[in-house]
Assembly symmetry: C2
Homo-oligomer: 169 residues x 2
């Protein structure tokens, strides 16, 4: 179980470049499978979204893009929409922000843990949550197309921090 935990909330010191490389390879494959073009721009935006394990806003992405040259909002939004459609990234509605999808190989609903302290996020994709939601909906004759679950709170390392701060007071 502890291996699983480490997969969920990634520590600050992991080899993040490797994360990005793996994500990029996955994305490449997904695009190929679906006959979509993974252009330089889309690749760059995807990379920017992945560059932190934190949700990033569209205009933040835009700013970083502008470091390379001129760019306008539609450029960013089009790339984000493309990536969203393919399930390569998700949108966190409560933050107006975007995150890289951890397992884009198959389509799935978004279930997110978001740390209110450090803003780190983790994707759950729990079949149990999905089943429970579908059952609750079925109980009232509602036909589910998709769902999003956004869970705000404290990630493991921030819980520890808060705890030790409390002790020091």
């Amino acid at each position: 179980m502890s291996g699983r935990k480490e997969l969920q909330f990634i520590s600050g010191e992991h080899d993040h470049q490797r994360c990005i490389t793996v994500a990029m390879a996955n994305a490449e494959q997904v695009c190929q499978q679906r006959g979509q073009r993974f252009t330089a721009l889309r690749r760059r935006v995807f990379e920017l979204v992945w560059q932190q394990h934190k949700p990033i806003g569209a205009y933040e992405v835009l700013e970083k893009l502008q470091e390379d040259g001129r760019a306008a909002p539609p450029t960013v939004y089009r790339a984000l929409d493309f990536l969203l459609d393919l399930g390569l990234i998700h949108r966190i509605n409560s933050l107006n922000a975007y995150v890289g999808c951890v397992h884009p190989q198959y389509p799935h609903d978004g279930q997110f843990l978001i740390c209110e302290s450090c803003k780190a996020f983790a994707e759950l994709d729990s079949p149990l949550i999905t089943t429970t939601i579908e059952q609750s909906a079925a109980d009232v004759d509602f036909e589910v197309h998709r769902h999003t679950v956004e869970i705000m709170g404290l990630c493991p390392r921030c819980r520890i921090k808060v705890c030790s701060e409390d002790n020091n007071e």
Copy 2:
């Protein structure tokens, strides 16, 4: 069970004025209990949010307020924020819109069914969903402060409609 179902997705023909009256009485009570002022403006905004069993945008509320006289965005947002803080309304993040809370007597997380066809919504507040989410979070040492669940799909009556349309083709 069928009584429960009718509570969830309200039919078009129910006595909606009565809904509003009941909601207003509840709101009144909640405000009193917490020593908050339920001013004319707040009352009016609350009423406007409740006037349909559908999510309503802040600027839609503004437009309706302006039928009574001059009003600017901050007026609406302040009233909405007040009502949100007290749990008298909820915000549907995926729609940037607001809905009246069906049981504001105790604080709770938002769990919503939203019909993609007619835009009607229902509030679930399912302890089972809450428990499942909390358990999933606990599995990865995450401390939950709050969550929102937004479920998009088809409500019972729109399912029937779509079904009969299919048959007519």
